[in-house]
């Protein structure tokens, strides 16, 4: 019986992250449109888009290989598994120990590898440009991400997300310079990884500026639906990561009573809502960067994380 409840808890998390992903995207788009003095699409438009794409005829190039055909599913599945392993409303779910923070970072690497290959599959120039730039961004973002992991691990003494969240909720960790820097760095990495302004623009189809959109340019129909869903899910993953690491309040830990779980769920949804509103505010207040400016942006994220690590070495009090 206990096992069934545990399984249900894990399944609930998997269901939640998928269910709210398009909604968060809708909220972000709506807020962004309002900031630009437009009315904007309805909040539920992303759900409608995915449903519509699923029912469109798919156009497949003659020379598309099996890699091209399985990539949408692989990317979605990998992102989904990664998102299911980040504590959202409750820590220590059944399978949460099967991966720590480093594994989650690496899982996103698997998804990216697959998508970059798909971009090169049919042999177009745009696919290649997207893949090449995506791998550049990844190679700049990943060291920053690992230093963020180091910062957290130095403060918490573990890389296990559930343990970190429990520690930060219960123990008096306090306001720390190092964690603040790590959060700044994580926001930078999240912006880059999710193809957001100033690194990339999800709304553009201007050839020379797009990265993520260029990789998936040839996709259509149900494949495109999967890719869009995976992109939304990735946003939820990074939001959950930020919430779990830096704002874990409200999350259900040792107390697993229905009341605590409800509080955890409400707190999680509230945090997601806040982040989904903050994202477009950030996006509208900054301009898109040229490709060869990326190293400066991601280098600052790296520098912030590195500073956090070194501060912690100087004194554990920072």
């Amino acid at each position: 019986m206990a096992l069934i409840l545990e399984l249900a808890g894990q399944a609930l998390q998997m269901a939640i992250v998928v269910a709210i992903a398009p909604l968060l995207l809708g909220i972000s788009r709506k807020v962004k449109a309002r900031l630009l003095m437009r009315i904007g699409p309805p909040l539920l438009q992303p759900y409608v888009d995915i449903w519509k794409l699923m029912h469109k005829e798919m156009v497949l190039a003659y020379n598309a290989s099996w890699i091209y055909r399985i990539t949408p599913y692989v990317v979605f599945a990998v992102t989904w598994v990664a998102a299911a392993l980040v504590p959202t409303y409750c820590t220590n779910l059944l399978f949460s120990w099967s991966a720590d923070l480093i594994v989650i970072v690496a899982l996103m690497g698997t998804a990216r590898f697959s998508l970059a290959l798909a971009g090169m599959d049919v042999g177009t120039a745009f696919g290649g440009i997207g893949s090449s730039r995506e791998m550049l961004i990844a190679s700049l973002a990943e060291p920053a991400m690992i230093l963020i992991v180091f910062t957290i691990a130095l403060v918490a003494g573990t890389t296990q997300l559930s343990t970190i969240a429990e520690l930060f909720t219960h123990a008096p960790v306090g306001l720390r310079v190092s964690l603040g820097l790590a959060m700044l760095a994580l926001i930078g990495v999240a912006v880059a990884e999710n193809a957001r302004i100033p690194i990339d623009n999800p709304a553009t189809h201007l050839e020379l500026t797009m990265v993520h959109e260029a990789m998936v340019l040839e996709y259509s129909g149900r494949h495109l639906a999967m890719i869009e869903a995976a992109a939304a899910l990735k946003l939820v993953l990074y939001f959950s990561l930020i919430a779990c690491l830096f704002f874990p309040f409200g999350i259900a830990t040792i107390d697993r009573s229905p009341a605590a779980l409800t509080v955890g769920l409400a707190a999680y949804l509230f945090k997601m809502l806040i982040l989904a509103v903050l994202l477009p505010i950030g996006e509208t207040s900054i301009a898109k960067m040229r490709v060869f400016r990326y190293p400066i942006f991601l280098g600052s994220a790296f520098a912030a994380a590195a500073l956090a690590v070194f501060l912690l070495f100087v004194s554990r009090g920072f």
Binding site: M14, H55, E57, M58, L60, Y62, N63, S65, I67, V74, F76, A77, V78, V81, A84, F95, W97, S98, A99, D100, I102, A106, R112, F113, A116, L117, G119, M120, V122, G123, T124, F126, G127, G128, I129, S131, S132, M135, L136, A138, S139, A141, E142, P143, M145, L147, V149, F150, A153, T158, T159, Q160, H205, L217, E218, R222, V291, P295, A306, F310
Partner: protein
């Protein structure tokens, strides 16, 4: 007696080599030599495995060979058994591959006699238990492999590669010779047992350690001693390239571990700092050079440099922890390094086999002349893809596990008391992360340009899938990549005796943990379960696919590529290897390489074609070897004068030398 059995295997391999020499011209010789090598290495593999998993008491043997007053000592202990597994596994699968690949060899007599002898020599290095046998078999291994590097000696580049290899190998052996000289001490004890028991002063240990790092490191390929790898490894036939890159570099690592961990004994903590620092720099520079290559075999050889860097990061951490008596952390770091040794030998062999199969099918090594091979060589493409994912450290494959363990070891570094180590090791961690990310970029490029897209030449268009032997060898390695990735606990437990022997501690036992996950330190600290991740991925992918097929339309239309409405028919409009690497070249190239881009754009109206050329120079050449070679030449020119002196001057010189030596002796007393 495993030592005796190991020697019999070596003897059998040498005998097969002689058979190859005698019958090399006949048609059946290829099958005979590779078949026999396969059988013998499999037997040796089984023996070594049984030793490592079984009771594992060291077994030694002394033969009345070699120098008359010493004899030849041989010994199998846990460390040797692990490296015997690596050598013989690599050898067995390379032999299996060569059963098919070797049939395409244009000059079999230049490969067949050397091949089994090379395998035997590598076994002999690992079995050796005194400095004399070790150095002799080490040099023998270098010479025999040199024979295969220059097998196709009519290509001038191969001869040059062979020359550089020979120079570097002799230099490395020289350093090892001096290291053993320091270890043997005044008494001149050449057996490892005597060296192990003899205490060294701090400064002598440092000298011996540095010499070993240079000597064994030049064989393994640490920066800046790596320059021969990307030249020599690709020059050999592909199954030999796999052995050179996947296995012989590991024998170099073995030499380092044997001397530094086993023979020298207690290190200073800063030795670990140096080794880990060199490892980090090696990893990043290796992968950056690899990214700039468009010859697939050279790319893979440069990638070996990267992986050797990762291994040395682990070894450096293990040294640092051991010096501070943090046994469990040292065991973790050492296990990570050894796990990566195993992993790298598996996936690097796999990738070289894939490159060899492409070479057989198309006659091309230049990636920019390939493309679209996934349609014509589906099995090779699949195997190569798994190799690419494993080497890029993607979960749930094996490359990720060893890198994850290395990260876990890095995260223990705050426990170290030394400030230098505390500050450098996180930086090494960042270098490791950078190299992993760049490796992924590099293999997206390699796989994408070779196997995906549209064929760029007729040769790529006309490729056909290779024979069963080659595919079987690749699929065995694919299975190993997946198995070691999802069941890492088995490998970690098999490595426990080695860690116990070298650092006096081992990682906690993993095999019987629930759900077969691995927990390096404690469950609240970190854990990873490759099997569960794989099942999760498979489950959610199936669920997604089923949902899509239930709710979405199945209507599918095949058409030409869209490409934003302007598809260009010519396959040269695709991204190539150099265009893929261009952003990374821009970002890192200015500081690390001497990149020269030559653009020749004809003026409007001119009828000639435009040209674009990129030349990338390995900085080791212009920063180190170029000045070194010039200095040697200048010194030689200067000393040349001594050949043309009068008899009077010679007598004066002899007299001065005598006086000087007498003074030295007087001062020594």
């Amino acid at each position: 007696m495993p030592a005796l059995a190991g020697l019999w295997c070596v003897a059998a391999l040498f005998a097969v080599g002689i058979l190859g020499l005698v019958f090399g011209r006949s048609r059946a010789a290829t099958t005979l030599v590779y078949g026999a090598s396969l059988a013998i290495t499999l037997a040796a593999l089984a023996l070594a495995l049984a030793f490592l998993i079984g009771d594992g008491r060291p077994s030694s043997l002394t033969l009345p060979l070699g120098l008359p007053w010493i004899g030849a000592h041989f010994r199998v202990d846990a460390l040797a058994a692990f490296f015997l597994i690596v050598v013989n596994l690599g050898g067995a699968i390379a032999s299996l591959y060569a059963l098919g690949y070797g049939q395409h060899e244009s000059s079999p007599l230049r490969v067949l006699p050397y091949y089994p002898v090379f395998l035997g020599a590598m076994n002999l290095v690992v079995l050796a238990d005194d400095a004399f046998v070790f150095l002799l078999s080490w040099e023998f291994m270098s010479l025999v492999s040199w024979g295969m590097v220059v097998a196709h000696h009519r290509i001038p580049a191969n001869v040059r590669a062979g020359y550089i290899y020979l120079v570097m190998a002799s230099f490395g052996t020289l350093c090892l010779l001096l290291a053993f000289g320091v270890l043997a001490g005044i008494a001149g004890e050449y057996s490892f047992a005597a060296m192990r028991s003899m205490p060294l002063t701090q400064s002598l240990a440092l000298i011996a350690g540095t010499l070993t790092l240079i000597g064994a490191g030049s064989k393994a390929g640490i920066v800046p001693l790596h320059v021969w790898l990307p030249l020599a490894h690709p020059a050999a036939p592909s199954h030999v390239s796999a052995l050179l890159s996947g296995v012989m570099t590991k024998v170099g690592v073995y030499g380092f571990i044997r001397i530094v961990f086993d023979l020298i004994g207690e290190p200073t903590p800063y030795a670990g700092l140096i080794v880990a620092g060199i490892g980090g720099v090696t990893a990043v520079l290796g992968v950056l050079y690899a990214l700039m290559q468009h010859d697939i075999k050279r790319l893979l050889a440069y990638h070996t440099v990267e992986n050797i860097g990762i291994i040395f990061i682990g070894l450096g951490l293990a040294l640092a922890f051991r010096a501070n008596s943090i046994g469990w952390a040292a065991a973790l770091a050492l296990t990570a390094a050894l796990f990566h040794v195993f992993n790298h030998s598996v996936f690097k062999s796999l990738l070289f086999f894939g490159a060899g199969s492409v070479l057989v099918a198309t006659g091309e090594r230049d990636m920019e002349r390939l493309g679209g091979l996934i349609h014509r060589m589906p099995h090779t493409a699949f195997a190569f893809l798994i190799g690419c994912m494993a080497i890029s450290a993607l979960p749930p494959l094996n490359g990720f596990v060893s890198e994850w363990l290395t990260f876990q070891a890095i995260l223990v570094s705050p426990q170290l008391p030394q400030w230098g180590l505390k500050l450098v090791i996180p930086a090494v961690g960042a270098l490791l992360a950078l190299s992993a990310a760049l490796a992924a970029a590099c293999f997206v490029k390699a796989f994408g340009v070779m196997f995906l897209g549209r064929p760029r030449t007729d040769a790529a268009q006309a490729a056909v899938e290779v024979d069963d032997w080659q595919r079987a060898a690749m699929l065995v390695l694919v299975a190993l990549c997946v198995l070691a990735g999802v069941l890492p606990g088995l490998v970690v437990d098999a490595l426990a005796p080695v860690a116990h022997m070298l650092v006096g501690d081992a990682m906690p036992q993993q095999t019987f943990l629930p759900w077969l996950s691995i927990v390096p330190i404690a469950k609240s600290r970190s854990s990873y379960n490759g099997l569960l991740i794989l099942l999760f991925l498979a489950g959610s992918a199936t669920l997604t696919a089923m949902t899509i097929h239930r709710f979405a339309t199945r209507a599918t239309r095949r058409s030409a590529i869209w490409d934003c409405g302007f598809p260009l028919a010519s396959p040269s409009a695709q991204y190539t290897s150099s265009s893929f690497a261009m952003p990374i070249r821009r970002v890192f190239g200015a500081s690390v390489f001497r990149v020269r881009e030559i653009v020749d754009m004809p003026p409007p109206g001119a009828m000639r074609a435009g040209h674009f050329q990129v030349r990338v120079f390995d900085p080791a050449w212009f920063a180190l070897y170029g000045p070194l070679a010039r200095a040697v030449r200048r010194a030689a020119n200067f000393l040349n004068r001594l050949q043309f002196l009068t008899i009077r001057s010679y007598l004066t010189l002899v007299f001065c030398a005598l006086i000087l030596l007498l003074l030295v002796v007087a001062a020594w007393r």
